[in-house]
Symmetry: C2
Subunit: 392 residues, 2 copies
């Protein structure tokens, strides 16, 4: 649809996107290159909805459940697309210039990270465990994942201090293998009850929307610590999120059939539901190094959620789960430097003439994302960015 | 010290213990077999401290920092041990009968679980990985751990619904290997800043106190899922805590030298600080099956905290970290059934004539703990209990 509000050509933030974030302690919706103060926009139209977002966080909106999510979105779309004096007054009163940097838009309760790209798992297996089968034995039976540290999930733009860690016997120092992982994150709104698994078919009742996620990783720390309990300090120093949570409703045109699954997944992981045709772009100091395709992920978000709760673990508002590194089949579709450089053996040559195995101090990484919108338009997912600072 | 208040002989909750919990939405302190409503007790003595605990949670007290923790404890001890009419009036106005079951006393933010018993790690290695060295290669260099699910940390008494999970290729069903892990948990009060590791020497500025923890584990689910990212669904269904947080100040007489560490730990894991001489007792349907000794743990709580933050990961009020299964050298000092029954091969024979490999539906497990107090008294840690319910 188009808006009566003049918008820049080809904006990813048209009236079909309408994601949510927090700027200046207010819930805002980016529209074109400006922001709509959501409570102000809704105040004359629906006081109850306006009060729900008259906060410095999305938490109450996330907790309100899907009928409310739909009501807010429907109301907002109507205001922006149906040209009436009332709508113009309400929208114009709520428009803001971009202002200060966005804040983390919700309180992250638990953070779980999956490992759902077959290409990524295969590539990593070949590099880390050259003498074993590339794919772990359970990989096609279980959507493998682990819990990360929710307290160090931060918003895009937060500096990435190079972490110190234990690199090997007797060696504590700054990581020499600082990496990225380009991922898609899913934000849970509606909680579930302890001991009651969430059926795969119900995932859209619980998941509010999508963010981009960079799971910064220190490969040397991770390799040394991971047996037998998995990644810990190699990941827990920082995880960055894009500032705008894009509601699933905006991604309708992006739902596509997932890759074929063989063997057939267990019953509680059925129906698989759909994959999301999001294209990520990874830039290192402004230079495109990869275009990871989320549509290629083997396990779907519905299956990840059904698995996460399959043992009766409950969901809380603010739970975040992520896809794991998104990698495609092609060499320019790999979602981390570990894969792009084969463990640092095969450095990237960048257009500016520099080479990189892993990240250098001062490097800036931007991961952006888009989804197909209605009638050839693009839905923007925004960006998750971070600049590496030297170890302290 | 002794109290003017008549207390049962040999109570673990005398005036040297004074732990904190929440009952009926009030912060309480167990004394003998009764409870003290803390805000009521403090109200006439110190209004500021009283307001801090006039809540349904310990969160504000935890966040207030060590000088405040010390002030509350000192004030309370004086009221209970110095016999004045004012103290009698204040205490008697605040005494309550036990009442409803205790609640989870604080908001658990992140939960990390270590693997700090050399005996446990060795025994588990022999059972799970018979063809590899028993201790993982990094074990003596790194306090190995992982993040668990904070949203399923519950208070003692919460029923333990037998979880379903993926037990092998094509097999989803109730776990056939439901186990316990007897552990000591540490509750963080004072937060730390991102990118600023907490020195080992500072751990008592951050850690408020200690709880008992049962890290319920489904061994079949855990075995199948754990490569390469560690335990996930095999642990995330439930983790139970004892209701009373015992402040570190009450455990002064329990601090002892830890086992010798060889090789010498890295500088940031020094000084090691002290171990805690806590004795746990594990009972299965009322029958003592083990007495795990926390003093035998290889890595100390100071080292665990220094490691957890060694990469710059920040602490939040309510972070919980646990020792991992506590096991000693003797066959009756093992902290989980996996070890006590050698992976179920060697079932336990209980005094009531029954045998157990892993837990049966209807089984109740109680883990209690005590520490040496001043002058031969005992400091009680209370109990963490749970009864297994059949899978739904």
């Amino acid at each position: 649809v188009s808006s009566w509000l003049p918008l820049p050509a080809n904006t990813g933030f048209g009236p079909d996107t309408l994601p949510y974030g927090v700027v200046g302690n207010r819930v805002v919706v980016p529209i074109g290159d400006r922001l709509l103060d959501l409570a102000t926009a809704l105040a004359r139209v629906d006081g109850t909805l306006a009060r729900l977002v008259d906060r410095p966080t999305l938490d109450p909106l996330l907790a309100a459940g899907r009928p409310t999510w739909d009501a807010v979105r429907t109301t907002l779309r109507r205001m922006l697309t149906v040209d009436t004096p009332e709508h113009r007054r309400a929208v114009e009163a709520a428009l803001r210039d971009p202002g200060p940097p966005p804040q983390l838009p919700f309180t992250v309760t638990d953070y779980a990270d999956f490992y759902s790209s077959q290409q990524h798992a295969t590539n990593v297996g070949r590099i880390f465990r050259p003498d074993a089968p590339a794919l772990p034995p359970a990989w096609k039976h279980v959507p493998i994942g682990y819990h990360g540290r929710s307290g160090t999930v931060v918003v895009s733009g937060t500096p990435v201090r190079r972490p110190r860690g234990i690199l090997g016997p007797g060696r504590y120092g700054p990581t020499e293998r600082l990496d990225i992982e380009a991922e898609v994150g899913f934000v849970v709104g509606t909680p579930s009850r302890l001991s009651e698994p969430v059926p795969a078919a119900d995932w859209r009742e619980h998941v509010f929307g999508v963010v981009l996620l960079n799971d910064w990783s220190a490969r040397d720390i991770q390799s040394f610590e991971s047996r037998p309990l998995g990644p810990f300090l190699g990941k827990s120093f920082l995880t960055s999120l894009s500032p705008w949570v894009v509601p699933l409703a905006a991604l309708e045109p992006a739902f596509v059939d997932p890759p074929a699954q063989d063997p057939r997944p267990l019953d509680h992981l059925q129906p698989a539901g759909q994959a999301l045709d999001l294209t990520l772009e990874v830039r290192l100091n402004g230079q495109l190094i990869s275009r990871p395709p989320a549509a290629a992920l083997y396990w779907t978000p519905a299956q990840q959620l059904a698995h996460l709760t399959g043992n009766g673990a409950s969901l809380r508002t603010g739970d975040l789960y992520a896809s794991g590194t998104v990698s495609g089949d092609a060499p320019d579709q790999l979602g981390c430097l570990l894969e792009l450089t084969r463990g640092g053996q095969d450095p990237l040559r960048l257009p500016d003439g520099t080479t990189r195995g892993y990240l250098s101090d001062g490097d800036t990484v931007d991961i952006t994302g888009t989804a197909p919108g209605p009638s050839g338009t693009l839905i923007g997912l925004g960006a998750v960015s971070g600049t590496v600072m030297p170890a302290e």
